[in-house]
Subunit: 317 residues, 2 copies
Protein backbone atom coordinates (compact mmCIF):
# COMPACT_ATOMS: atom_id res chain seq x y z
CA UNK A 1 0.00 0.00 0.00
CA UNK A 2 1.49 3.31 -1.05
CA UNK A 3 1.73 5.93 1.64
CA UNK A 4 3.22 9.39 1.59
CA UNK A 5 3.50 12.31 3.92
CA UNK A 6 0.89 15.05 3.57
CA UNK A 7 0.76 18.42 5.34
CA UNK A 8 -2.24 18.88 7.61
CA UNK A 9 -2.79 22.63 7.88
CA UNK A 10 -4.79 23.92 10.83
CA UNK A 11 -6.96 27.03 11.07
CA UNK A 12 -4.27 29.28 12.53
CA UNK A 13 -1.93 28.46 9.68
CA UNK A 14 -4.71 28.96 7.12
CA UNK A 15 -5.48 32.42 8.49
CA UNK A 16 -1.77 33.26 8.68
CA UNK A 17 -1.26 32.13 5.09
CA UNK A 18 -4.06 34.15 3.50
CA UNK A 19 -4.62 37.81 4.41
CA UNK A 20 -8.00 39.39 3.70
CA UNK A 21 -6.40 41.17 0.71
CA UNK A 22 -5.07 37.89 -0.71
CA UNK A 23 -8.42 36.18 -0.04
CA UNK A 24 -10.15 38.90 -2.07
CA UNK A 25 -7.67 38.51 -4.94
CA UNK A 26 -8.01 34.71 -5.03
CA UNK A 27 -11.78 34.80 -4.67
CA UNK A 28 -12.15 37.25 -7.53
CA UNK A 29 -9.86 35.09 -9.67
CA UNK A 30 -11.94 32.00 -8.81
CA UNK A 31 -15.17 33.72 -9.90
CA UNK A 32 -13.50 34.81 -13.15
CA UNK A 33 -12.01 31.42 -13.99
CA UNK A 34 -15.30 29.72 -13.23
CA UNK A 35 -17.16 32.20 -15.46
CA UNK A 36 -14.69 31.44 -18.27
CA UNK A 37 -15.24 27.70 -17.82
CA UNK A 38 -11.62 27.07 -16.79
CA UNK A 39 -12.52 26.00 -13.24
CA UNK A 40 -15.35 23.51 -12.86
CA UNK A 41 -17.48 22.13 -10.08
CA UNK A 42 -20.28 19.57 -9.95
CA UNK A 43 -23.26 20.57 -7.80
CA UNK A 44 -22.61 20.34 -4.07
CA UNK A 45 -24.16 17.34 -2.33
CA UNK A 46 -26.13 17.72 0.89
CA UNK A 47 -26.16 14.94 3.48
CA UNK A 48 -28.85 15.58 6.07
CA UNK A 49 -28.02 14.91 9.70
CA UNK A 50 -31.34 15.09 11.55
CA UNK A 51 -32.51 16.74 13.68
CA UNK A 52 -30.13 19.66 13.69
CA UNK A 53 -27.66 19.79 10.89
CA UNK A 54 -26.30 18.85 7.53
CA UNK A 55 -23.04 18.11 5.78
CA UNK A 56 -22.05 19.36 2.33
CA UNK A 57 -19.58 17.68 0.00
CA UNK A 58 -18.23 20.27 -2.43
CA UNK A 59 -15.83 19.23 -5.20
CA UNK A 60 -14.05 21.55 -7.63
CA UNK A 61 -11.21 21.38 -10.15
CA UNK A 62 -9.00 24.07 -11.63
CA UNK A 63 -5.40 25.17 -12.00
CA UNK A 64 -4.03 21.60 -11.90
CA UNK A 65 -5.72 21.01 -8.54
CA UNK A 66 -8.83 19.17 -7.39
CA UNK A 67 -10.55 20.00 -4.14
CA UNK A 68 -13.14 18.41 -1.94
CA UNK A 69 -14.63 20.40 0.91
CA UNK A 70 -16.57 18.55 3.62
CA UNK A 71 -18.29 21.12 5.73
CA UNK A 72 -21.17 21.24 8.17
CA UNK A 73 -23.94 23.55 9.15
CA UNK A 74 -25.29 22.82 12.63
CA UNK A 75 -27.04 26.13 13.44
CA UNK A 76 -27.91 25.21 17.02
CA UNK A 77 -24.38 24.15 17.92
CA UNK A 78 -23.58 27.62 19.20
CA UNK A 79 -26.04 27.09 22.06
CA UNK A 80 -23.87 24.18 23.15
CA UNK A 81 -20.54 25.98 22.70
CA UNK A 82 -19.73 24.04 19.53
CA UNK A 83 -18.89 25.50 16.12
CA UNK A 84 -21.75 25.90 13.64
CA UNK A 85 -19.41 25.32 10.72
CA UNK A 86 -16.67 22.72 10.85
CA UNK A 87 -14.97 20.38 8.48
CA UNK A 88 -11.93 19.93 6.32
CA UNK A 89 -10.67 20.27 2.77
CA UNK A 90 -8.78 17.66 0.80
CA UNK A 91 -6.55 19.15 -1.89
CA UNK A 92 -5.27 16.83 -4.61
CA UNK A 93 -3.31 16.99 -7.83
CA UNK A 94 -5.78 16.95 -10.74
CA UNK A 95 -3.01 15.47 -12.87
CA UNK A 96 -2.12 12.39 -10.79
CA UNK A 97 -4.84 12.25 -8.14
CA UNK A 98 -2.20 12.44 -5.41
CA UNK A 99 -3.45 13.93 -2.14
CA UNK A 100 -1.44 17.11 -1.53
CA UNK A 101 -2.83 18.54 1.70
CA UNK A 102 -5.56 18.47 4.32
CA UNK A 103 -6.81 21.91 5.42
CA UNK A 104 -9.06 22.98 8.26
CA UNK A 105 -12.46 23.84 6.79
CA UNK A 106 -14.10 26.62 8.81
CA UNK A 107 -11.16 28.99 8.34
CA UNK A 108 -11.17 28.53 4.55
CA UNK A 109 -14.94 28.95 4.55
CA UNK A 110 -14.72 32.20 6.51
CA UNK A 111 -12.05 33.65 4.25
CA UNK A 112 -13.83 32.86 1.00
CA UNK A 113 -17.22 33.93 2.33
CA UNK A 114 -15.92 37.22 3.68
CA UNK A 115 -13.89 37.83 0.55
CA UNK A 116 -16.95 37.27 -1.67
CA UNK A 117 -18.72 40.12 0.15
CA UNK A 118 -15.75 42.40 -0.56
CA UNK A 119 -15.50 41.32 -4.21
CA UNK A 120 -19.21 42.00 -4.64
CA UNK A 121 -18.87 45.47 -3.07
CA UNK A 122 -15.87 46.41 -5.24
CA UNK A 123 -17.80 45.30 -8.31
CA UNK A 124 -21.33 46.46 -7.52
CA UNK A 125 -21.35 49.13 -4.82
CA UNK A 126 -21.35 52.78 -5.86
CA UNK A 127 -17.97 54.44 -6.36
CA UNK A 128 -18.67 56.68 -3.36
CA UNK A 129 -19.83 53.85 -1.07
CA UNK A 130 -17.91 53.87 2.20
CA UNK A 131 -19.88 53.05 5.35
CA UNK A 132 -20.53 49.42 6.29
CA UNK A 133 -23.24 47.67 8.29
CA UNK A 134 -22.57 44.14 9.48
CA UNK A 135 -25.65 42.22 10.63
CA UNK A 136 -24.47 39.05 12.34
CA UNK A 137 -21.00 39.19 13.86
CA UNK A 138 -20.07 35.50 14.09
CA UNK A 139 -17.03 33.95 12.44
CA UNK A 140 -18.11 34.63 8.87
CA UNK A 141 -19.51 38.06 9.70
CA UNK A 142 -16.18 38.98 11.27
CA UNK A 143 -14.27 37.92 8.19
CA UNK A 144 -16.67 39.77 5.90
CA UNK A 145 -15.98 42.91 7.92
CA UNK A 146 -12.19 42.33 7.83
CA UNK A 147 -12.31 41.82 4.07
CA UNK A 148 -14.43 44.95 3.52
CA UNK A 149 -11.94 46.90 5.65
CA UNK A 150 -9.06 45.49 3.57
CA UNK A 151 -10.94 46.59 0.44
CA UNK A 152 -11.05 50.15 1.75
CA UNK A 153 -14.58 50.25 3.16
CA UNK A 154 -15.58 51.51 6.56
CA UNK A 155 -15.93 52.61 9.22
CA UNK A 156 -19.11 50.77 10.02
CA UNK A 157 -21.63 49.47 12.51
CA UNK A 158 -21.63 45.97 13.95
CA UNK A 159 -25.03 44.54 14.91
CA UNK A 160 -25.67 41.23 16.62
CA UNK A 161 -28.26 39.86 19.05
CA UNK A 162 -25.19 38.93 21.11
CA UNK A 163 -23.95 42.44 21.97
CA UNK A 164 -20.63 41.20 23.33
CA UNK A 165 -19.87 39.63 19.99
CA UNK A 166 -20.73 42.85 18.14
CA UNK A 167 -18.60 44.83 20.59
CA UNK A 168 -15.59 42.57 20.15
CA UNK A 169 -15.69 42.95 16.38
CA UNK A 170 -16.27 46.69 16.54
CA UNK A 171 -13.32 47.11 18.89
CA UNK A 172 -11.02 45.03 16.70
CA UNK A 173 -11.85 47.08 13.61
CA UNK A 174 -12.19 50.49 15.23
CA UNK A 175 -15.87 50.54 14.21
CA UNK A 176 -18.99 50.97 16.37
CA UNK A 177 -21.70 48.76 17.75
CA UNK A 178 -25.08 49.64 16.29
CA UNK A 179 -28.65 48.45 16.06
CA UNK A 180 -29.84 46.26 13.23
CA UNK A 181 -31.71 49.28 11.82
CA UNK A 182 -28.59 51.43 11.87
CA UNK A 183 -26.42 48.77 10.27
CA UNK A 184 -29.08 48.18 7.60
CA UNK A 185 -28.91 51.83 6.54
CA UNK A 186 -25.24 51.93 5.53
CA UNK A 187 -23.77 52.13 2.02
CA UNK A 188 -22.62 48.52 2.08
CA UNK A 189 -24.54 46.03 4.21
CA UNK A 190 -23.62 42.43 4.84
CA UNK A 191 -26.01 39.98 6.48
CA UNK A 192 -24.44 36.87 7.98
CA UNK A 193 -27.11 35.23 10.12
CA UNK A 194 -28.52 31.69 10.20
CA UNK A 195 -31.36 32.84 7.94
CA UNK A 196 -34.13 31.50 10.11
CA UNK A 197 -35.73 34.96 10.31
CA UNK A 198 -35.37 37.97 7.97
CA UNK A 199 -32.95 40.68 9.15
CA UNK A 200 -33.34 43.06 6.21
CA UNK A 201 -36.76 44.54 5.46
CA UNK A 202 -38.29 46.52 2.60
CA UNK A 203 -38.29 49.64 4.77
CA UNK A 204 -34.51 49.38 5.19
CA UNK A 205 -33.61 49.56 1.52
CA UNK A 206 -31.92 52.79 0.42
CA UNK A 207 -31.27 54.07 -3.09
CA UNK A 208 -27.83 53.13 -4.35
CA UNK A 209 -27.16 50.73 -1.51
CA UNK A 210 -25.25 47.46 -1.94
CA UNK A 211 -26.23 44.47 0.16
CA UNK A 212 -24.30 41.19 0.37
CA UNK A 213 -26.43 38.38 1.74
CA UNK A 214 -24.12 35.68 3.02
CA UNK A 215 -26.01 33.75 5.64
CA UNK A 216 -28.98 31.81 4.28
CA UNK A 217 -27.42 28.71 2.82
CA UNK A 218 -30.14 26.08 2.55
CA UNK A 219 -33.67 25.73 1.25
CA UNK A 220 -36.25 27.51 3.40
CA UNK A 221 -33.75 29.99 4.86
CA UNK A 222 -33.85 33.70 4.12
CA UNK A 223 -32.29 36.88 5.52
CA UNK A 224 -34.18 39.35 3.31
CA UNK A 225 -37.90 39.96 3.63
CA UNK A 226 -39.66 38.74 0.47
CA UNK A 227 -41.20 42.14 -0.23
CA UNK A 228 -37.76 43.78 -0.12
CA UNK A 229 -36.34 41.75 -2.97
CA UNK A 230 -38.08 43.61 -5.85
CA UNK A 231 -36.31 46.78 -4.69
CA UNK A 232 -32.95 45.33 -5.72
CA UNK A 233 -31.14 44.38 -8.87
CA UNK A 234 -30.10 40.86 -7.89
CA UNK A 235 -26.75 39.11 -8.39
CA UNK A 236 -25.63 35.67 -7.28
CA UNK A 237 -22.52 33.54 -7.27
CA UNK A 238 -23.99 30.68 -9.29
CA UNK A 239 -27.45 30.30 -10.73
CA UNK A 240 -27.81 26.61 -9.95
CA UNK A 241 -26.87 26.89 -6.28
CA UNK A 242 -28.67 30.20 -5.77
CA UNK A 243 -31.93 28.96 -7.26
CA UNK A 244 -31.69 25.58 -5.56
CA UNK A 245 -31.05 26.56 -1.96
CA UNK A 246 -30.79 29.59 0.25
CA UNK A 247 -31.94 33.17 -0.05
CA UNK A 248 -33.30 33.10 -3.59
CA UNK A 249 -34.75 29.58 -3.72
CA UNK A 250 -38.15 30.79 -2.53
CA UNK A 251 -38.52 33.70 -4.99
CA UNK A 252 -37.25 31.58 -7.91
CA UNK A 253 -39.60 28.76 -6.94
CA UNK A 254 -42.57 31.16 -6.76
CA UNK A 255 -41.67 32.62 -10.17
CA UNK A 256 -40.86 36.03 -8.67
CA UNK A 257 -37.29 35.92 -9.96
CA UNK A 258 -36.30 34.49 -13.34
CA UNK A 259 -32.96 33.33 -14.70
CA UNK A 260 -32.79 36.53 -16.77
CA UNK A 261 -33.24 38.71 -13.67
CA UNK A 262 -30.38 37.03 -11.82
CA UNK A 263 -26.82 37.87 -12.86
CA UNK A 264 -23.82 35.75 -11.91
CA UNK A 265 -21.07 37.89 -10.42
CA UNK A 266 -18.37 36.09 -12.42
CA UNK A 267 -20.08 37.11 -15.65
CA UNK A 268 -19.89 40.73 -14.57
CA UNK A 269 -16.24 40.35 -13.60
CA UNK A 270 -15.28 39.06 -17.05
CA UNK A 271 -17.45 41.61 -18.86
CA UNK A 272 -20.03 39.12 -20.09
CA UNK A 273 -22.86 40.75 -18.14
CA UNK A 274 -23.66 44.25 -16.94
CA UNK A 275 -23.21 45.34 -13.33
CA UNK A 276 -24.85 48.30 -11.58
CA UNK A 277 -26.86 50.35 -14.10
CA UNK A 278 -27.30 53.63 -12.19
CA UNK A 279 -26.35 55.49 -9.05
CA UNK A 280 -29.88 55.04 -7.76
CA UNK A 281 -30.08 51.29 -8.23
CA UNK A 282 -29.87 49.16 -5.12
CA UNK A 283 -27.85 45.98 -5.67
CA UNK A 284 -28.04 42.69 -3.81
CA UNK A 285 -25.49 39.89 -4.00
CA UNK A 286 -26.60 36.48 -2.78
CA UNK A 287 -23.63 34.32 -1.81
CA UNK A 288 -24.35 30.62 -1.52
CA UNK A 289 -20.65 29.74 -1.40
CA UNK A 290 -18.93 27.96 -4.25
CA UNK A 291 -16.39 25.17 -4.12
CA UNK A 292 -14.29 27.07 -6.66
CA UNK A 293 -13.89 29.86 -4.07
CA UNK A 294 -12.62 27.29 -1.58
CA UNK A 295 -10.24 26.04 -4.25
CA UNK A 296 -8.85 29.53 -4.74
CA UNK A 297 -8.16 29.93 -1.02
CA UNK A 298 -6.85 26.37 -0.59
CA UNK A 299 -4.39 26.85 -3.45
CA UNK A 300 -3.08 30.02 -1.79
CA UNK A 301 -2.67 28.20 1.55
CA UNK A 302 -0.84 25.31 -0.13
CA UNK A 303 1.49 27.72 -1.94
CA UNK A 304 2.27 29.45 1.36
CA UNK A 305 3.07 26.08 2.96
CA UNK A 306 5.28 25.12 0.01
CA UNK A 307 7.11 28.42 0.42
CA UNK A 308 7.73 27.66 4.09
CA UNK A 309 5.58 30.57 5.23
CA UNK A 310 3.23 28.57 7.47
CA UNK A 311 3.60 25.44 9.60
CA UNK A 312 1.77 22.14 9.14
CA UNK A 313 1.63 18.79 10.86
CA UNK A 314 3.05 16.18 8.50
CA UNK A 315 1.06 12.95 8.52
CA UNK A 316 1.39 9.73 6.50
CA UNK A 317 -1.66 9.39 4.24
CA UNK B 1 -11.68 30.13 15.23
CA UNK B 2 -12.25 26.83 16.95
CA UNK B 3 -9.57 24.22 16.47
CA UNK B 4 -9.19 20.78 17.93
CA UNK B 5 -6.83 17.87 17.57
CA UNK B 6 -7.87 15.13 15.17
CA UNK B 7 -6.18 11.76 14.59
CA UNK B 8 -4.80 11.28 11.08
CA UNK B 9 -4.67 7.54 10.51
CA UNK B 10 -2.36 6.24 7.77
CA UNK B 11 -2.71 3.11 5.66
CA UNK B 12 -0.54 0.91 7.87
CA UNK B 13 -2.66 1.72 10.90
CA UNK B 14 -5.88 1.18 8.92
CA UNK B 15 -4.74 -2.27 7.83
CA UNK B 16 -3.54 -3.09 11.35
CA UNK B 17 -6.86 -1.98 12.82
CA UNK B 18 -9.12 -4.03 10.59
CA UNK B 19 -8.38 -7.68 9.84
CA UNK B 20 -9.98 -9.31 6.79
CA UNK B 21 -12.40 -11.10 9.16
CA UNK B 22 -13.44 -7.82 10.79
CA UNK B 23 -13.70 -6.13 7.39
CA UNK B 24 -16.13 -8.87 6.30
CA UNK B 25 -18.21 -8.46 9.46
CA UNK B 26 -18.41 -4.66 9.13
CA UNK B 27 -19.11 -4.79 5.40
CA UNK B 28 -21.93 -7.28 5.87
CA UNK B 29 -23.38 -5.10 8.62
CA UNK B 30 -23.15 -2.04 6.36
CA UNK B 31 -25.07 -3.78 3.57
CA UNK B 32 -27.72 -4.90 6.08
CA UNK B 33 -28.16 -1.49 7.71
CA UNK B 34 -28.35 0.18 4.33
CA UNK B 35 -30.98 -2.32 3.18
CA UNK B 36 -33.00 -1.56 6.31
CA UNK B 37 -32.75 2.18 5.63
CA UNK B 38 -30.77 2.86 8.82
CA UNK B 39 -27.62 3.92 6.98
CA UNK B 40 -28.05 6.38 4.12
CA UNK B 41 -25.97 7.77 1.29
CA UNK B 42 -26.64 10.31 -1.45
CA UNK B 43 -25.38 9.29 -4.90
CA UNK B 44 -21.62 9.56 -5.29
CA UNK B 45 -20.40 12.54 -7.28
CA UNK B 46 -17.84 12.18 -10.05
CA UNK B 47 -15.38 14.98 -10.82
CA UNK B 48 -13.62 14.33 -14.11
CA UNK B 49 -9.91 15.04 -14.31
CA UNK B 50 -9.07 14.84 -18.01
CA UNK B 51 -7.33 13.19 -19.71
CA UNK B 52 -6.61 10.28 -17.41
CA UNK B 53 -8.63 10.16 -14.26
CA UNK B 54 -11.47 11.09 -12.04
CA UNK B 55 -12.28 11.85 -8.43
CA UNK B 56 -15.31 10.59 -6.53
CA UNK B 57 -16.89 12.27 -3.51
CA UNK B 58 -18.83 9.69 -1.53
CA UNK B 59 -20.86 10.72 1.54
CA UNK B 60 -22.68 8.39 3.92
CA UNK B 61 -24.31 8.57 7.34
CA UNK B 62 -25.12 5.90 9.89
CA UNK B 63 -24.47 4.83 13.46
CA UNK B 64 -24.05 8.43 14.72
CA UNK B 65 -21.28 9.01 12.18
CA UNK B 66 -21.04 10.83 8.87
CA UNK B 67 -18.37 10.01 6.33
CA UNK B 68 -16.98 11.60 3.22
CA UNK B 69 -14.63 9.61 1.02
CA UNK B 70 -12.58 11.45 -1.61
CA UNK B 71 -11.00 8.88 -3.82
CA UNK B 72 -9.44 8.74 -7.27
CA UNK B 73 -9.25 6.43 -10.18
CA UNK B 74 -6.29 7.17 -12.43
CA UNK B 75 -5.97 3.85 -14.32
CA UNK B 76 -2.76 4.78 -16.14
CA UNK B 77 -0.94 5.87 -12.99
CA UNK B 78 0.53 2.42 -12.57
CA UNK B 79 2.60 2.94 -15.73
CA UNK B 80 4.23 5.88 -13.95
CA UNK B 81 4.72 4.10 -10.62
CA UNK B 82 1.90 6.02 -8.97
CA UNK B 83 -1.15 4.55 -7.21
CA UNK B 84 -4.31 4.10 -9.29
CA UNK B 85 -6.48 4.69 -6.23
CA UNK B 86 -5.63 7.33 -3.66
CA UNK B 87 -7.44 9.68 -1.38
CA UNK B 88 -8.69 10.13 2.13
CA UNK B 89 -11.76 9.78 4.31
CA UNK B 90 -13.16 12.40 6.64
CA UNK B 91 -15.10 10.91 9.54
CA UNK B 92 -17.41 13.22 11.51
CA UNK B 93 -19.96 13.06 14.27
CA UNK B 94 -23.43 13.06 12.70
CA UNK B 95 -24.74 14.56 15.95
CA UNK B 96 -22.52 17.66 16.21
CA UNK B 97 -20.72 17.78 12.86
CA UNK B 98 -17.37 17.65 14.66
CA UNK B 99 -14.56 16.16 12.56
CA UNK B 100 -13.39 13.01 14.35
CA UNK B 101 -10.66 11.57 12.14
CA UNK B 102 -8.89 11.64 8.79
CA UNK B 103 -8.14 8.20 7.31
CA UNK B 104 -6.01 7.11 4.38
CA UNK B 105 -8.35 6.22 1.51
CA UNK B 106 -6.83 3.44 -0.59
CA UNK B 107 -6.46 1.09 2.38
CA UNK B 108 -10.10 1.51 3.41
CA UNK B 109 -11.15 1.06 -0.22
CA UNK B 110 -9.17 -2.18 -0.51
CA UNK B 111 -10.61 -3.61 2.69
CA UNK B 112 -14.22 -2.86 1.86
CA UNK B 113 -13.87 -3.96 -1.76
CA UNK B 114 -12.19 -7.24 -0.85
CA UNK B 115 -14.63 -7.83 1.97
CA UNK B 116 -17.61 -7.31 -0.36
CA UNK B 117 -16.33 -10.18 -2.53
CA UNK B 118 -16.18 -12.43 0.53
CA UNK B 119 -19.62 -11.36 1.78
CA UNK B 120 -21.06 -12.11 -1.67
CA UNK B 121 -19.42 -15.56 -1.73
CA UNK B 122 -20.68 -16.45 1.74
CA UNK B 123 -24.17 -15.40 0.73
CA UNK B 124 -24.38 -16.58 -2.88
CA UNK B 125 -21.77 -19.26 -3.61
CA UNK B 126 -22.76 -22.91 -3.27
CA UNK B 127 -22.29 -24.54 0.12
CA UNK B 128 -19.57 -26.76 -1.34
CA UNK B 129 -17.71 -23.95 -3.11
CA UNK B 130 -14.04 -23.94 -2.17
CA UNK B 131 -11.56 -23.12 -4.93
CA UNK B 132 -10.85 -19.50 -5.86
CA UNK B 133 -9.70 -17.76 -9.02
CA UNK B 134 -8.38 -14.22 -8.77
CA UNK B 135 -8.12 -12.34 -12.06
CA UNK B 136 -6.19 -9.15 -11.43
CA UNK B 137 -3.78 -9.22 -8.49
CA UNK B 138 -3.31 -5.52 -7.72
CA UNK B 139 -4.08 -3.93 -4.36
CA UNK B 140 -7.81 -4.64 -4.40
CA UNK B 141 -7.37 -8.12 -5.95
CA UNK B 142 -4.95 -8.97 -3.17
CA UNK B 143 -7.39 -7.90 -0.49
CA UNK B 144 -10.24 -9.79 -2.16
CA UNK B 145 -8.09 -12.92 -2.00
CA UNK B 146 -7.14 -12.28 1.65
CA UNK B 147 -10.79 -11.79 2.58
CA UNK B 148 -11.87 -14.95 0.73
CA UNK B 149 -9.13 -16.86 2.56
CA UNK B 150 -10.34 -15.43 5.88
CA UNK B 151 -13.86 -16.56 4.95
CA UNK B 152 -12.61 -20.13 4.51
CA UNK B 153 -12.22 -20.25 0.73
CA UNK B 154 -9.18 -21.52 -1.16
CA UNK B 155 -6.75 -22.62 -2.21
CA UNK B 156 -6.87 -20.79 -5.49
CA UNK B 157 -5.16 -19.53 -8.61
CA UNK B 158 -3.82 -16.03 -9.06
CA UNK B 159 -3.84 -14.62 -12.60
CA UNK B 160 -2.39 -11.31 -13.74
CA UNK B 161 -0.78 -9.97 -16.89
CA UNK B 162 2.05 -9.01 -14.54
CA UNK B 163 3.24 -12.48 -13.53
CA UNK B 164 5.44 -11.21 -10.73
CA UNK B 165 2.44 -9.62 -9.09
CA UNK B 166 0.44 -12.86 -9.37
CA UNK B 167 3.39 -14.82 -7.98
CA UNK B 168 3.80 -12.53 -4.98
CA UNK B 169 0.13 -12.90 -4.04
CA UNK B 170 0.14 -16.68 -4.60
CA UNK B 171 3.21 -17.05 -2.41
CA UNK B 172 1.74 -14.94 0.37
CA UNK B 173 -1.46 -17.01 0.45
CA UNK B 174 0.03 -20.43 -0.29
CA UNK B 175 -1.95 -20.51 -3.54
CA UNK B 176 -0.72 -20.98 -7.13
CA UNK B 177 -0.16 -18.79 -10.15
CA UNK B 178 -2.50 -19.74 -12.98
CA UNK B 179 -3.67 -18.59 -16.37
CA UNK B 180 -6.74 -16.43 -16.76
CA UNK B 181 -8.60 -19.47 -18.13
CA UNK B 182 -7.66 -21.59 -15.13
CA UNK B 183 -8.64 -18.89 -12.63
CA UNK B 184 -11.94 -18.35 -14.46
CA UNK B 185 -12.89 -22.01 -13.97
CA UNK B 186 -12.84 -22.06 -10.16
CA UNK B 187 -15.82 -22.26 -7.76
CA UNK B 188 -15.48 -18.64 -6.73
CA UNK B 189 -13.98 -16.16 -9.19
CA UNK B 190 -13.14 -12.52 -8.51
CA UNK B 191 -12.23 -10.11 -11.28
CA UNK B 192 -10.39 -6.97 -10.23
CA UNK B 193 -9.08 -5.37 -13.39
CA UNK B 194 -9.41 -1.85 -14.83
CA UNK B 195 -12.38 -3.06 -16.91
CA UNK B 196 -11.05 -1.73 -20.20
CA UNK B 197 -11.27 -5.22 -21.74
CA UNK B 198 -13.40 -8.24 -20.72
CA UNK B 199 -11.57 -10.90 -18.70
CA UNK B 200 -14.48 -13.31 -18.24
CA UNK B 201 -16.14 -14.83 -21.29
CA UNK B 202 -19.30 -16.83 -21.95
CA UNK B 203 -17.20 -19.94 -22.52
CA UNK B 204 -15.74 -19.63 -19.01
CA UNK B 205 -19.03 -19.81 -17.12
CA UNK B 206 -19.61 -23.04 -15.17
CA UNK B 207 -22.80 -24.32 -13.56
CA UNK B 208 -23.07 -23.35 -9.92
CA UNK B 209 -20.17 -20.92 -10.09
CA UNK B 210 -20.07 -17.62 -8.17
CA UNK B 211 -18.35 -14.64 -9.71
CA UNK B 212 -17.64 -11.33 -7.96
CA UNK B 213 -16.93 -8.53 -10.40
CA UNK B 214 -15.08 -5.80 -8.55
CA UNK B 215 -13.08 -3.90 -11.13
CA UNK B 216 -15.22 -2.01 -13.64
CA UNK B 217 -16.25 1.12 -11.78
CA UNK B 218 -17.26 3.69 -14.34
CA UNK B 219 -19.49 3.97 -17.38
CA UNK B 220 -18.09 2.19 -20.43
CA UNK B 221 -16.01 -0.26 -18.40
CA UNK B 222 -16.71 -3.96 -18.26
CA UNK B 223 -14.91 -7.13 -17.11
CA UNK B 224 -17.54 -9.62 -18.28
CA UNK B 225 -18.24 -10.27 -21.96
CA UNK B 226 -21.78 -9.09 -22.77
CA UNK B 227 -22.84 -12.51 -24.03
CA UNK B 228 -21.78 -14.12 -20.74
CA UNK B 229 -24.15 -12.07 -18.61
CA UNK B 230 -27.40 -13.97 -19.47
CA UNK B 231 -25.77 -17.10 -18.04
CA UNK B 232 -25.84 -15.62 -14.55
CA UNK B 233 -28.39 -14.65 -11.96
CA UNK B 234 -27.18 -11.11 -11.25
CA UNK B 235 -26.77 -9.33 -7.91
CA UNK B 236 -25.40 -5.87 -7.19
CA UNK B 237 -24.55 -3.68 -4.23
CA UNK B 238 -26.92 -0.86 -5.10
CA UNK B 239 -29.27 -0.53 -8.05
CA UNK B 240 -28.63 3.17 -8.66
CA UNK B 241 -24.85 2.93 -8.76
CA UNK B 242 -24.82 -0.41 -10.58
CA UNK B 243 -27.16 0.75 -13.33
CA UNK B 244 -25.50 4.15 -13.60
CA UNK B 245 -21.85 3.21 -13.97
CA UNK B 246 -19.63 0.18 -14.29
CA UNK B 247 -20.20 -3.41 -15.26
CA UNK B 248 -23.97 -3.39 -15.60
CA UNK B 249 -24.54 0.10 -16.99
CA UNK B 250 -24.32 -1.15 -20.59
CA UNK B 251 -26.77 -4.08 -20.23
CA UNK B 252 -29.23 -1.95 -18.24
CA UNK B 253 -28.97 0.84 -20.79
CA UNK B 254 -29.61 -1.60 -23.67
CA UNK B 255 -32.62 -3.07 -21.85
CA UNK B 256 -30.92 -6.45 -21.44
CA UNK B 257 -31.19 -6.30 -17.67
CA UNK B 258 -34.17 -4.87 -15.80
CA UNK B 259 -34.58 -3.66 -12.24
CA UNK B 260 -36.50 -6.87 -11.46
CA UNK B 261 -33.63 -9.04 -12.71
CA UNK B 262 -31.08 -7.31 -10.50
CA UNK B 263 -31.09 -8.09 -6.77
CA UNK B 264 -29.37 -5.94 -4.16
CA UNK B 265 -27.15 -8.03 -1.92
CA UNK B 266 -28.36 -6.22 1.21
CA UNK B 267 -31.93 -7.27 0.46
CA UNK B 268 -30.81 -10.90 0.38
CA UNK B 269 -28.87 -10.46 3.64
CA UNK B 270 -31.95 -9.17 5.49
CA UNK B 271 -34.26 -11.75 3.93
CA UNK B 272 -36.16 -9.29 1.75
CA UNK B 273 -35.05 -10.95 -1.50
CA UNK B 274 -34.09 -14.45 -2.56
CA UNK B 275 -30.49 -15.52 -3.11
CA UNK B 276 -29.24 -18.49 -5.12
CA UNK B 277 -32.19 -20.59 -6.32
CA UNK B 278 -30.46 -23.84 -7.24
CA UNK B 279 -27.15 -25.68 -7.17
CA UNK B 280 -26.90 -25.29 -10.94
CA UNK B 281 -27.43 -21.54 -11.03
CA UNK B 282 -24.40 -19.39 -11.71
CA UNK B 283 -24.38 -16.20 -9.66
CA UNK B 284 -22.67 -12.89 -10.38
CA UNK B 285 -22.18 -10.06 -7.90
CA UNK B 286 -21.33 -6.65 -9.33
CA UNK B 287 -19.61 -4.45 -6.78
CA UNK B 288 -19.55 -0.76 -7.59
CA UNK B 289 -18.44 0.16 -4.07
CA UNK B 290 -20.70 1.96 -1.64
CA UNK B 291 -19.91 4.79 0.74
CA UNK B 292 -21.76 2.89 3.47
CA UNK B 293 -19.13 0.13 3.17
CA UNK B 294 -16.42 2.72 3.69
CA UNK B 295 -18.35 3.98 6.69
CA UNK B 296 -18.40 0.49 8.21
CA UNK B 297 -14.64 0.12 7.84
CA UNK B 298 -13.89 3.69 8.94
CA UNK B 299 -15.96 3.23 12.10
CA UNK B 300 -13.97 0.09 12.94
CA UNK B 301 -10.67 1.92 12.41
CA UNK B 302 -11.81 4.81 14.60
CA UNK B 303 -12.88 2.43 17.36
CA UNK B 304 -9.49 0.73 17.21
CA UNK B 305 -7.76 4.10 17.51
CA UNK B 306 -10.00 5.07 20.44
CA UNK B 307 -9.08 1.79 22.13
CA UNK B 308 -5.38 2.59 21.71
CA UNK B 309 -4.84 -0.32 19.35
CA UNK B 310 -3.35 1.66 16.47
CA UNK B 311 -1.24 4.81 16.21
CA UNK B 312 -2.20 8.08 14.54
CA UNK B 313 -0.62 11.44 13.92
CA UNK B 314 -2.53 14.04 15.89
CA UNK B 315 -3.08 17.26 13.97
CA UNK B 316 -4.97 20.49 14.80
CA UNK B 317 -7.96 20.76 12.51
Amino acid sequence: MNSHVVPVIGSEAVLAAVSPALAIERTREAFERHARGEWVMPAKVYLDAPPDGDFRAMPARGGRLALLKWVTSFPHNREHGLPVVSGALLLSSAETGELLAVLEGASVTSLRTGAAAAVSAQLLAREDAASVGVIGCGENGGWAARCLLAAGYGPGFCADLDEARAAALAEELGWEVGSRELAAGQDVVVTVTPGEHPVLFAADVREGQHVAVLGADAAGKSEVEASALPKFRVFCDEWGQASGGGELAGPVGRGELSREQLTQIGDVLIGAAAGRSSEAEATLFDSTGLAIQDLGIAAAVYEAWQAGQVPATEAPL
